[in-house]
Symmetry: C3
Subunit: 433 residues, 3 copies
């Protein structure tokens, strides 16, 4: 598929695979990646002719890209953006990257019609970005492609490139460049850490919250898409999820994936869960309550005690904090200590309800949610309400618009989405907004 | 009152009220807001003709602003900055905003003499800010007002506007604009979250520390005032306080208020407390000690044990950490674990003492503070000292200068201030610095 | 020594001493500082003619700098960068700073040949930086020094200066200035806090993570060195270490030191430890395990219980989390809960091993580390592996390159380094990379 990048509003997964490895059939890993489908197939697939491929095998890697993409590109369900070699400090590397792009874009080779753009690593200042843009413009002209038809996704892995993020808006749109081809802004924290000369005692990557904020902000300001860098510890699924949650709170909905398993997590992570859950604050930590057979939400642990006293009052202990409360006080105390993780159908219901209210001339309505919590064996009703106005409604659109785009752009994932959420929720989700 | 914005150094509270609601007398809420006095009256009152008012009622809202401000503006103790409609992506909305400003500024309507400026939402890049500035310049010219006499307070609710924050200093002062009219830089996190396409599992707003830093920095670099956005959960007073404390550590002393109750918190929060208190670190948490009748500071809880042993030594247990110490060791351990929350009269005393020392030719003096702590029933004297030099002195001026400005600018709050702090402290606070 | 600043890649310690204090021999403290050697001597010594010296004694301070540096500068093992007076808002202060530099650079006075550059406080926008640069250019010309031979290290203590950090790269290299003389970018959080008008309840400095990030990023983008500001509480060694660890994760390897004791900490902190240690996560906290006589790593505390059950299974309790596991499960659970603090010889061994593999044509190898942990008296083997590729290798170079530079540039510290790490490790560390 070749939709040419910048038509998409969301990218969940950015999956790199080596273009050449030692052995008989060096294109094997590429070919396997090209055949991924459904949740295992990324939104953006990156045949990686840079770090994932040995320096001595990169010319061969380019031929493998051409072979595999010309053969399998048509059927691949996501976009295809090979990563070429580039370095802000090395003109020879830049020349090689140029030649590799020229070869991949050769119309006789049959690959370029399935190529959406290029990922460009190790960029420096905005003037360095323009050099890569100019090379792509030449590649387009030489190969009879429309100017701007190949997108460009820089990998931010230097302080210089981070500074460039705040300058895109001043350069984009000038007649002297084609920076409108920009598509993804991808953070590359391993090399960034090296460039910043940062160290940690254990060798773990620093969290770099400011870099991620600045990348997300640049994406927002220029209609681009922010993607976080690789998460090295591929066995640590929980850590990958925490990172994605943190990223989404920064407006960075995409993440690099190193394995098809990580692709699945990256593809499903940004979509709302099928079922809502309650979170309870216990002694500084947040505990997810378990759904009981009857649809209640139960706390299973030793840190909460709840006793009904004789006079209709309750004694509630949460960690070290113990209080006696009447029924209203108990409900209030629990409301203050709980949060609700919003499910897909909650979004759909609330948006539909608000749309109706708006059509009836009302600008703000109160949405109520009641649930039964089971604490220390005692059932308690807890009601939470929230005001919805235009702003709440529009904020809720972010996950729903993502869902809609995924459903439209990825027919290969529709079955899984319908299985996960149910026919009815999917149908209604496609209608709201 | 119309002091024309940018003369003030501090703004604590930014209070929005709807300009038109359905019902008989649509100006009722506006009129009520205009009659707030004392701690309930904000430093900046914002008749909100944008999000707080239904889209269909905004022309009526403008008439209500004119009516209420012409009638009650004179007596209102704070500044008045209506929020008009504006959008970086919509010229039609910008034209409406222009017309609304023109109407509000009509000298025959009698309101503009009490209007200090306009709040402009949904601004984009700095060039978009200049468009709003230009419209205000035209409004001034058409209505016989001095150029630059109406201030402009942009609401930062997009990545583009956040980038503009770092460019104000390059544009302000140019002959081609009147950006010196800038007054407040206000973060609007609800729409900003939408623009950044950020999501959280529970629908809570992300904390956006980098945005708030960048807003505060722009205020500092350009002599403007940074104001944080609304805090939605109006019942959560503790959360509002924590947010304000966090903001102040970023140099952002003002906050949006949605209710007169929040205005009171916003007005009193940045002023030092009447009484100093001690904070004790217990197992990773910070606990405020209670003031006893005798002026000591007592810990009431189970996580600290202190026993005098036979030989003049002590056994101290704090959470899971237990040690045997001699008297000096005990004092030191407690000094390391305590912090002192500085009271208004501490600031005044220390500043006066330092001023005397400076007059006597000394550049640095040690300030000592001794208190009796009561831990597990045992009394311990703890002495803390701190070096004061010119920098310490100047840093202490921030809250005192704020107090002085409040006292000068808000006669309606003087009684409350005198009642809170006592005559003597207020008099001395007005003299130092 | 006068290597003229910008040849160095690392600065660990930035030590200020007053240039003039009241009493008979006002140069005494300067002279003492000039005679520091070994780990007590800083990489950059700053005779501080600004805040550390009384305003009335600054002309005398300049004479003391001249006297002491001409006498002792030759032997001083670090670089010498006097801090002169400067203020973005006060031309008179700037003129005094100019005159002081002119005097210090007078070749007849005999000091300038040992002076590497000047630290310039209270700078504002990048145009203000250019004013200081221009004065230094004049000082060089007037005194027969090569243009650009004196470096300039601005102290960032205002929002304006923080904004300038993102503009250095656009101005450096222009023919109209000599900003290539920039050397250190030093944060000055006390005055910065005042300029940002930030306050905290207890008067502590805010942490300012964004400022430190922006300073480090500017250093990275322009080949400069980032240095954090002073840590006031000179008795709090642990706090100083935590701050340095946090700084290093931001790429800021240098820190201000107020005492020779802090200099020792600042000089040794960024170098890897002699011995690796294991960290264990226990109930949200990280505990360092103790090295036993036999080279194992033991947990000494009550929060971990480990029992071998009859059937080859284990019961592991860590804080409140208890599980039964088989041997593999136990090893995995401990691997997930531990981290390894990398020692100097680990870096050296791993780098050498990777260099060999690379020479043999392999681009990535797995490094394994096995250790015996002792938990609740039970010994468990834990093996951790990590993939090393070119990027891992280059990241590991940061501490090793620092070590090599220190060893080369500071002969006075070689004995201490050899004593700390052993002859063999030092020799090998000088060869890798």
């Amino acid at each position: 598929m070749a939709t040419h990048g910048n038509e998409r509003a969301f990218v969940r997964s950015f999956f790199t695979s080596p273009t050449a490895v030692e052995g008989d059939d060096t294109a094997e890993m590429l070919r396997k990646a090209s055949q991924l489908r459904g949740m295992q197939a990324p939104d953006v697939w990156v045949p990686d002719n840079e770090d994932a491929t040995a320096p001595t095998m990169r010319d061969e890697g380019v031929e493998n890209i051409v072979d595999v993409v010309s053969e399998h590109g048509e059927e691949f369900p996501g976009e295809i953006h090979p990563r070429i070699v580039w370095h802000r400090d090395d003109p020879e590397t830049r020349r090689r990257g140029f030649e590799h792009m020229m070869r991949i874009a050769d119309p006789d080779a049959g690959a370029v019609e399935h190529i959406d753009g290029f990922a460009v690593p190790e960029v420096g200042s905005i003037d360095d970005w323009k050099k890569a843009d100019e090379f792509i413009t030449v590649v387009e002209a030489e190969n009879g492609l429309e100017e701007g038809s190949l997108s460009m996704s820089p990998i931010v892995e230097s302080g210089e490139a981070e500074l460039a993020l705040a300058r895109i808006d001043r350069e984009i749109g000038k007649r002297s460049n084609n920076l409108e081809r920009l598509f993804l802004l991808v953070d590359g924290e391993v090399d960034y850490t090296k460039d910043m000369r940062a160290t940690t005692p254990t060798g773990e990557l620093p969290p770099w919250p400011e870099l991620r904020h600045n990348t997300s902000r640049a994406a927002s300001a220029n209609g681009l898409i922010a993607v976080d860098g690789p998460y090295d510890d591929i066995r640590d699924v929980e850590g990958y999820h925490e990172r994605m949650t943190d990223n989404r709170a920064k407006g960075m909905l995409g993440i690099w994936s190193l394995t098809p398993g990580q692709v699945v997590e990256a593809n499903t992570g940004p979509l709302p869960p099928k079922e809502g859950t309650y979170l309870l604050e216990v002694g500084g930590e947040t505990v997810e309550l378990d759904r009981t057979g009857g649809g209640a939400h139960a706390y299973e642990g030793d840190d909460v005690e709840l006793d009904e006293l004789d006079d209709g009052r309750y004694r509630l202990r949460v960690a070290r904090d113990q209080r006696e409360l009447d029924e209203d006080g108990l409900a209030e105390a629990l409301r203050d200590r709980t949060q609700y993780v919003v499910a897909m159908d909650d979004y759909v219901d609330s948006m539909a309800e608000f749309e109706e209210a708006k059509a009836a001339g009302r600008g703000a309505i109160s949405m109520e949610r009641t649930a039964t919590l089971v604490l220390d064996g005692v059932e308690v009703e807890v009601t939470r309400d929230r005001m919805w106005d235009e702003a709440t409604y529009q904020a809720a659109q972010t996950p729903i618009t993502l869902f809609q785009e995924v459903y439209e752009a990825r027919p290969d994932q529709r079955d899984e989405l319908r299985e996960t959420y149910g026919e009815d929720v999917v149908d209604r989700a496609m209608e709201v907004g």
